[in-house]
Amino acid sequence: MSNDPVAADAGVGVIAVSDEILRGHVVPILEAVLYAAEEPVPVAEIVEVLTKVGADQDRAWATEVSVRLVERVAILLSDRLMEAGSSLQVLEVAGGFRLGTRPQFDPWIRALRQVERPSRLSVAALETLAVAAYRQPVTAAEIAAVRGVDPSASLRTLREQGLVRITGRKRAVGRPFTYGTTRHFLEIFGLRDLDELPDPEEFEELLEA
């Protein structure tokens, strides 16, 4: 679950820079970058920034920056925030890192922003979205077969909200459009990637329990 803080065992491996140096020099840079960003920052972009600016500033670690190193830095930042009792956390969403508040601070922020409303998606839309997420690329007719209801209205809503997009056409009679989920979908649902969704078999086992 990517809405959980970055997992402590991710990204272990050979990193040529000691944790001590990372903590002292690189962690604050990542914190600043994530603080300033308004969207998840892809790991590749962080690698690029650290390498380039690090070289410009003659930092010894600049030549050692890798995806693995960035992941390690994210864990160290996550640990530091936790130990300091910060209300912020590092999250891995839609293939990038971002800083967000911890869930227990939700009521305060919600009151400040005066938001109090139900989820923006109806059950019908969520069901269509679930079929699209699990079976993509999938046609409207295939979704209708699973749900027993015509999904065109839900598909329109989901496309308007940027959660679902047309991914192509199926090689079948009438060449129907196929649908799939978007990157925005991952962000809204706090997912690192589609593999993070539970296996459908888990649900079936629950049924038989």
Binding site: R98, R110, S119, A130, F189, L191, L197, L207
Partner: protein, 252 residues
């Protein structure tokens, strides 16, 4: 339907059941009310209830789409098979296959619903985390996580119960245009405009004639369909509460 005793409803507000939920949802609703596992569904028993609800839907001027009738036909065939000694083994096998197919479809549908609920939970959880520069991530408030959206058949079931409780006089004395749905939609809209959630039972006044109650129910469905209101329920079969959605949110 429209030409029968229930000709209370003007056609502009004809609500198709299929716009909300399909026959599989109705079957799952019955499965839940029996508290049995899908694969052990007493099909013969459920057939009667299924047909009864279809009749009720027609009585209150809701159009069950043709898919509902197809499933009804399947159920009746299966029930007949269970009651009668079978004329041929081949016929029996075809019916077994039909039953198997129906149950498989139900299981798959239930799995989809669970996946949808899982997604809803993730959205709610993700919405309790805030980011800079993101004014409105939305999501149901964390403290309301036990609340689920009420599906059509939960609303229909609650309405049936309410009609029985109120012992509302039948439609006979009602003239055709006495309770236009358009008017009830306006009245409901006005009540929702206060921005406060409304308990489902409070939408219906005790002394109201049946025709008015039905028109109010259809008006509620119309507002849900148009996205102006959402119905939520405290877990399955719990109390239903109607939430107004602000026009602004609807537009985004």
């Amino acid at each position: 339907m429209a030409d029968g005793g229930g000709a209370v409803i003007d056609d502009r507000f004809r609500v198709q059941v299929g716009e909300f939920d399909g026959p599989l949802d109705l079957l799952l609703h019955l499965v839940r009310s029996h508290e049995v596992e899908i694969r052990h569904l007493p099909l013969a028993e459920i057939t009667g209830e299924y047909l009864e609800i279809l009749r009720f839907l027609e009585e209150i001027d809701l159009d069950p789409a043709s898919e509902f009738l197809e499933v009804a036909a399947s159920l009746v065939r299966l029930k007949a098979q269970a009651l009668l000694p079978s004329p041929s083994v081949a016929g029996n096998e075809a019916l077994d296959a039909e039953q198997e197919a129906l149950l498989e479809q139900l299981v798959e549908h239930q799995v989809t619903r669970m996946a949808a609920r899982d997604l809803g939970g993730r959205e709610a959880k993700a919405a309790s985390v805030w980011f800079r520069g993101e004014p409105n991530p939305g999501g149901i408030a964390a403290q309301r996580s036990e609340v689920v959206e009420a599906d059509l058949f939960s609303l229909v079931a609650a309405f049936r119960e309410l009609l029985t409780d109120l012992k509302a006089p039948s439609l006979f004395s009602v003239s055709a245009d006495q309770y236009p749905v358009a008017e009830r939609v306006e009245a409901l809209r006005t009540r929702l405009r206060t921005g406060e959630p409304l308990p489902f039972d409070e939408l219906f006044a005790k002394g109201d004639p049946r025709g008015k109650l039905i028109a109010t129910f259809l008006a509620l469905l119309e507002l849900i369909r148009s996205g102006e209101a959402r119905a939520f329920q405290e877990a399955s079969f719990g109390k239903i509460v109607i939430f107004p959605l602000e026009i602004l949110e609807h537009a985004q």
